[in-house]
């Protein structure tokens, strides 16, 4: 598979997961803007990366979703359950396409049609939401607020486009930080934009120091263009995913932007206004007396040219009628953004300075060049004198306040015969903001104002992520291979004690035997450390499995109309990746069973005095070399009498067993194959396969299942799983000359007792161990091999199984051993009494017994 595509699939899966989780959170807190942003970011990332591949349906679907959440985060529309459902379904669809990409590197042939159907639904929802959002005061002004940059377009240009009924386009270009490596030059792209009217930039540059990376693009741009949308898209087709284009329709250009003014003429007009005044005649004179930078003048200007079309605007500007609240918003915004000091007077005074400042600045620039070009020390004095003259005449004219500063610079330059002081003065004079006609804004401030706060925050987060992220993605197969090698090493290491024994017993060389044993200790320590190291790489938090369950519970709950609150505990508990993966199916079955069978319907719960909302708790707890997964519900519990009767009816148990079974044993019957407590199977569970599957899956992963239940209180199912399935410890025992392995995790202890302590109770051999009656079974009998000859003492393995604690009689204990258990293959697979086999250091095979099956 193409490594780039592989990486896209992996990353997109993570983003899908994050997006789905955020959606579930959003369903509970629909007003939370940060969660909406979270969803948006996940979708946005998938969309951005999808542009690299020829997977248009996927790209267009996530694009439509992105639009929907972009609108929501801009306050357009509301987060409804329809939005959540559709978004979750869309993400599921994207997930299934990712599966397809992983298998075939292609999308299914019907992907385009599927995408279009989703997109149509999303767009419908989006437009419906837009209507909801703007339904309140003024239906005609429904669009999102205009970008601030549009509001700065000169009045005459807006009027020109309005009269020509021409739309213009605002676009935002957020280049990918790595875009330089693709040969992109965003600044150039903006310069060459067709119909470019104006542009501005913002940046999120890091501090300039040794770690500054010049090849990370941190500039973003906004531009206004008069070209058509298709021309723009054609020009930007290689960076399409980094661009947002917004059409600004002619009618959206009809607003006033500038300063508020108080003027006698304006006041006079206001006073003369009556309901039947002919406005055009009355306001005409204002056009010649008001400052064109003021909103009032612009309103008059619109009105003179457009007549009634601009009437509302004029009314508002002149405060004639405030009932037209619908038009207020953009205007209020414009006025709040107007510079505080830009009244008529200061504007006029700036104008008078405009020409000389420009000329003076050009002259000063030339002086710098002149000073820098002087290479000969003998000419410096002359150059200083010449430049000093020029500066004196121009600075006095344009910036009289800086004359004293200039005199000082000239004196310094002459004294030191150095141009440095003069150049510094000119540079400072050139950057004197007071001389500028336009207010100068520091780049840092512009960043904050030009970019939405959330985007700045997101960029910062990305930046810190990219710096702090030192994770390495490794193919799992490579780690599995390492794990296998470590396993082989363990087996090879196990051969050393045999060799040592041989050296001593067969060759009589005790010294070599001693040295081999010493070396074995070193090797044992190193191999164990290596194995632990590799195992820790494979450890993943259970959250990777748990995360899918809130969605599952939500979907099932909605389907069968039950309200269920799922709580996840201990999500950060870690276990081997294979163990975690083996958990998925059992947990799905368990949760389905709990929701379907366990938790009662709301009315039934209320009648029982329980809260209407059912409670499910899924927890993970680390326990030495095991992890305990528990699913607890507060449902109706399992009634042992009902279960026993069903089991008898279905032939799962016979009459004798029916009578003998204790309540606890009866409850365990739900794990029996073919058992289902429901009369009719639902599509969720109830086909009698669920809990059976759970038990088998957990046991094949080397774990055990326990169930405890109380009627009308609830049920708890506990899964004890090994932290790792790769290496296991067994006790080697001997029976009739044969060696077997028994998993250490079920062995409580080993005891040797005199044969006369064995008693027979109701035809069963038992012993009393610390005041507890423990039944004894002979392993030779269970395996149907030669019986153990009579001895003075009995060797017993005290084991815990699903049948309780019992003593397993063996001939001898041979010590414990770390093994890599291999599953039985071929016809041996049918002998379920063996869970697997391993090779011993002397080359012989050790069969590992499956006591649960044997007993």
């Amino acid at each position: 598979m193409n490594p780039l595509l592989e990486s896209f699939v992996q990353e997109s899966r993570e983003n899908l997961q994050e997006g789905a989780q955020a959606l579930l959170k959003l369903e509970k807190q629909p007003q939370d803007a940060e969660i909406i942003n979270e969803v948006f970011r996940s979708i946005h990332t998938i969309k951005g990366s999808s542009g690299l591949f020829d997977i248009h349906p996927l790209g267009s679907l996530v694009h439509a979703l992105e639009d929907l959440f972009d609108a929501l985060r801009n306050g357009i529309g509301v987060v409804s359950s329809e939005v959540i459902d559709l978004a979750l379904d869309s993400l599921d669809q994207v997930g299934s396409w990712l599966d397809s990409l992983e298998k075939t590197e292609l999308l299914p042939s019907d992907a385009e049609a599927t995408a279009q159907s989703f997109i149509a639904n999303i767009r419908q929802l989006n437009s419906a939401d837009s209507n909801i959002a703007v339904a309140e005061p003024a239906p005609e002004k429904t669009a999102a607020p205009l970008p601030a940059m549009v509001e700065t377009i000169a009045h005459e240009d807006r009027k020109k486009w309005w009269l020509a009924k021409q739309s213009i386009y605002w676009l935002e270009y957020k280049p990918d930080p790595q875009c330089f490596f693709n040969g992109e030059d965003p600044l150039r792209t903006i310069q060459l934009l067709p119909g470019l009217y104006d542009w501005q930039s913002a940046h999120s540059l890091s501090a300039f120091n040794e770690s500054y990376d010049p090849f990370v693009c941190a500039l973003s741009f906004e531009a206004i263009s008069t070209a058509t949308e298709s021309e723009l898209r054609e020009h930007l087709k290689y960076v399409a995913e980094q661009i947002t284009i917004l059409e600004v329709q002619p009618e959206q250009l009809l607003f006033c932007h500038g300063s508020d003014i108080e003027h006698d003429a304006l006041q006079a007009v206001k006073e003369q206004l009556t309901s039947d005044t002919e406005l055009s005649k009355l306001v005409q004179p204002l056009h010649s007396v008001l400052n064109p930078d003021s909103k009032a003048w612009q309103a008059v200007d619109w009105f003179i040219d457009l007549g009634d079309d601009a009437l509302e605007l004029l009314q508002e500007m002149l405060a004639i009628d405030v009932s037209t609240a619908a038009h207020k918003k953009p205007l209020e915004k414009a006025s709040s953004e107007a510079p505080q000091d830009s009244n008529e007077k200061s504007s006029a005074s700036n104008k008078s300075l405009e020409v000389p400042v420009d000329v003076a600045k050009a002259v000063w620039q030339t002086q710098i060049e002149l000073l820098e070009s002087v290479a000969d020390d003998q000419l410096i004095a002359g150059a200083i004198a010449s430049v000093a003259n020029v500066l004196r005449s121009s600075v006095g004219l344009v910036a009289p306040s800086q004359v004293a500063e200039l005199d000082e610079a000239i004196a310094q330059a002459k004294a030191k015969v150095s141009v440095e002081a003069l150049i510094q003065f000119i540079v400072s004079a050139l950057s004197n903001n007071e001389l500028d006609v336009l207010p100068t804004v520091e780049p840092q401030e512009t960043l904050a104002t030009a970019l939405p706060a959330s985007s700045v925050a997101a960029d910062k987060a990305n930046e810190s992520d990219s710096k702090g992220n030192t994770m390495l993605r490794v193919d799992q197969r490579k780690i599995d291979q390492l794990m296998d090698l470590a396993g082989e090493l363990i087996v090879a290491k196990n051969a050393l004690p045999f060799i040592a024994e041989n050296a001593e017993k067969q060759h009589g060389n005790r010294q070599i035997s001693k040295e081999i044993k010493a070396q074995y200790q070193v090797l044992d320590r190193l191999v164990s450390a290596m194995q632990e190291g590799i195992m820790s790489v494979r450890m993943v938090p259970v959250s990777s499995v748990f995360q899918r369950f809130p969605r599952l519970v939500r979907d099932i709950g909605r389907k069968i109309n039950k309200q269920i609150d799922l709580t996840l505990i201990g999500e950060s508990t870690e276990a081997d990746k294979n163990v975690i993966e083996s958990l998925v199916d059992p947990l799905v079955h368990m949760i389905r069973n709990s929701v379907d069978h366990g938790i009662e319907a709301a009315d039934e719960r209320v009648a029982k005095g329980k809260p209407a909302v059912g409670k499910l708790i899924l927890s993970a707890t680390p326990q030495e070399d095991q992890v305990l997964i528990q699913l607890q519900d507060d449902g109706k519990g399992i009634d042992p009498a009902v279960i026993k009767q069903k089991a008898l009816d279905k032939g799962v148990i016979d009459q004798e067993t029916f009578e003998r079974l204790t309540d606890k044993e009866a409850q365990q019957l739900i794990f029996a194959a073919g058992f289902s407590s429901r009369d009719t199977a639902s599509d969720l569970s109830g086909r009698g396969v669920g809990m059976d599957v759970v038990k088998n899956a957990v046991e094949s992963a080397g774990g055990t299942v326990e169930l405890s239940s109380t009627v009308d209180v609830g049920t708890t199912i506990s899964l004890h799983l090994p932290l790792s399935v790769a290496v296991s410890r067994v006790m080697r025992i001997e029976v009739s000359g044969q060696q077997y392995g028994i998993p250490m995790d079920i062995i409580n202890e080993t005891v040797r007792i005199p044969v006369d302590r064995v008693q027979t109770v109701r035809n069963r051999r038992t012993i009393v161990l610390r005041d507890t009656l423990v039944p004894i079974k002979s392993l030779a009998d269970l395996l149907a091999i030669d019986t153990i000859p009579e001895r003075d003492e009995v060797s017993l393995l005290i084991v815990s199984t699903h049948r309780g604690v019992l003593g397993l009689e063996v001939d001898d204990f041979l010590g414990d051993l770390e093994i890599i258990q291999k599953p039985m293959v071929g016809f041996m697979r049918e002998f379920t009494a063996y869970s697997g086999a391993t090779m011993l250091g002397d080359g012989s095979v050790l069969l590992v017994l499956n006591l649960e099956d044997l007993l």
Binding site: D185, R188, H203, F208, Y212, P214, C217, E369, V441, P443
Partner: protein
């Protein structure tokens, strides 16, 4: 070389490509009070413009090219 690196001034050539950003970064880190002379510059890659913004270096001579001057004004560099 796109930059003529003098003692205190880096003089730009007509065009400044992406890789010239790195040269400028190195020079500016070695020459903290250095200035740049952009008189002849007619084209500047985004990466170079970013260095000028990030470093806050003094532009001792602005480009002669009107269009280039306008770009620098828009970037609030002059």
């Amino acid at each position: 070389m796109a930059w003529q690196l003098k003692k205190t001034v880096a003089v730009a050539d007509k065009t400044l490509e992406v890789e010239d950003a790195e040269t400028l970064v190195d020079w500016l880190l070695e020459t903290p009070n250095g200035k740049v002379n952009l008189k002849d510059n007619e084209y500047m890659h985004t990466a170079v413009a970013q260095v000028l913004i990030a470093s806050g270096v003094v532009i001792s001579v602005t480009p002669s090219s009107a269009s280039q001057q306008q770009i620098l004004q828009k970037l609030r560099l002059i």
